[in-house]
């Protein structure tokens, strides 16, 4: 089961190239003018998606993520407040770029953890279907773990994909009739069978 990768295990050698807006001090203040705020939301949205894509981050847990360099620019000594970060994520959820999920941990706090769709489930579905085709895995049964962590997916973009996101991608394929959940004799989920893309 893949866990949220910490920043130190990011697969990249160089750190994320922040855009110039990141060095603009007011970017970290929730703007009072509503039109300015609209543009600020849009900029944060793009930045968060790009950052997560670059670092292969699948979900953001507000309480821990608020410490990341994404929300803290030490060079200019500016930080995004937690409430503002939540507003930004709310707006991303409205746009379909993120989804609130129940956080891990003993207490289920509402809306503090979100999966980030730097690719939408439909995109992941297409990528996985293409991969099944090109690796000749049609009509085989694969477990979710094998898809995300198996040898054949080593160089794939969905390597280490968050299981929740993978599920959603598979749901798309199932709806399209390109995949089917296989159950073992005792009714337990055994894996997914792919029929390949049409």
């Amino acid at each position: 089961m893949s866990t949220l990768p910490s920043l130190s295990t990011s697969s990249r050698n160089t750190s994320f190239p922040f855009p110039s807006i990141y060095s603009f001090p007011p970017f970290f203040t929730r703007q009072p003018n509503s039109q300015t705020w609209t543009s600020q939301l849009s900029l944060w949205n793009s930045l968060i998606l790009a950052y997560c894509r670059y670092n292969r981050i699948w979900r953001i847990d507000l309480n821990t993520a608020i410490e990341w360099d994404l929300f803290n620019n030490r060079d200019i000594n500016r930080s995004l407040k937690l409430e503002t970060c939540k507003e930004v994520l709310d707006s991303m959820v409205m746009k379909g770029d993120a989804e609130w999920v129940s956080g891990s941990g003993s207490h289920v706090s509402k809306n503090t953890s979100a999966i980030i769709y730097w690719r939408r489930p439909e995109e992941w579905a297409n990528i996985i279907a293409d991969w099944i085709d090109s690796t000749g895995q049609k009509n085989t049964i694969l477990t979710l773990y094998e898809i995300a962590e198996g040898d054949l997916s080593l160089s794939q973009d969905f390597r280490g994909i968050d299981p929740t996101i993978l599920r959603k991608a598979l749901d798309v394929l199932i709806r399209r009739g390109q995949a089917q959940i296989m159950k073992s004799a005792d009714g337990e989920e055994a894996g997914v069978k792919f029929f390949g893309s049409q």
Binding site: S20, I21, S23, F24, P25, P26, F27, F28, T29, Q31, P32, N33, Q35, T36, T38, S39, Q40, S42, N77, R78, S79
Partner: protein, 247 residues
């Protein structure tokens, strides 16, 4: 012609006749000059037309050449960008110099409008010409445009009532793409932002000798107009110009 000064009525007659002769001569000279000038002008027009046609490509692709060409036209009192419906002379030249010059600036104006529209939420409708130029020239496959080109294109928009105009602040050209013009205080305050990228109540108070109430009023004004971004993590609060966001 004798210039003898006579006396009495005869002298007056003489003076009149002399004056008339001078006047006649003057008219003749003037007439000659006019017809000579007309000939010269017609020759020149023909030469200019030929020049414009044979250099159409350069006019379109080279900002320096284009600039010199437009300056030359202006020097002889011709506006190559005059609206074709305005006056006969204007439309003649627009036709003479070819649709190329007109098209170029028209297309450029359209691109400028689009860029300003997209950035309006970020900068409240005030954008550095330099930034617009950067965005236009970052698109590959098109010949580069100059700041002068942009200013000219915007000036063709002004009379059309789009709310577009050039504003010069702190020695830089800005494009205003909203109908609201800057008040005096707003303009001065924005000029002040160009030094450090931001202003604050103390900065305005100390540098412009404004009372605190006036400083607060203009800053609130600028925020309401979307012309500045607020930095609340600075003490005292800072008001930043979005033109400081590097492209």
């Amino acid at each position: 012609m004798t210039m003898r000064r006579g006396v009495g009525l005869a002298a007056f007659d003489n003076h009149q006749r002399t004056a008339q002769q001078y006047s006649d001569l003057g008219s003749t000279i003037l007439q000659t000059h006019i017809s000579e000038l007309t000939d010269q002008l017609l020759t020149f027009q023909a030469a200019l037309k030929k020049f414009a046609q044979s250099h159409a490509d350069e006019i379109r692709s080279d900002p320096v050449f284009r600039s010199e060409f437009v300056k030359m036209c202006s020097a002889i009192g011709v506006d190559p960008l005059a609206s074709s419906s305005a006056n006969k002379k204007g439309s003649f030249w627009a036709e003479l110099l070819g649709s190329d010059v007109n098209d170029f600036f028209f297309e450029l104006a359209v691109r400028i409008i689009e860029i300003c529209r997209r950035a309006r939420d970020v900068n409240g409708g005030l954008m550095l010409v330099e930034d617009v130029k950067g965005r236009i020239n970052s698109v590959p496959g098109r010949p580069p445009v100059s700041q002068e080109d942009i200013v000219r294109a915007v000036n063709t928009l002004a009379p059309l009532g789009h709310g577009f105009g050039i504003v010069r602040l702190a020695n830089k050209d800005f494009i205003r793409s909203v109908p609201q013009e800057l008040s005096r205080d707003q303009a001065v305050a924005i000029e002040a932002t160009q030094a450090l990228g931001y202003i604050s109540v103390p900065i305005l108070r100390d540098n412009l000798a404004w009372e605190t109430a006036r400083c607060i009023a203009v800053l609130d004004d600028l925020v309401a107009s979307g012309l500045v971004w607020v930095d609340e993590q600075a003490r005292p609060k800072e008001y930043w110009t979005p033109s400081w966001i590097r492209q």
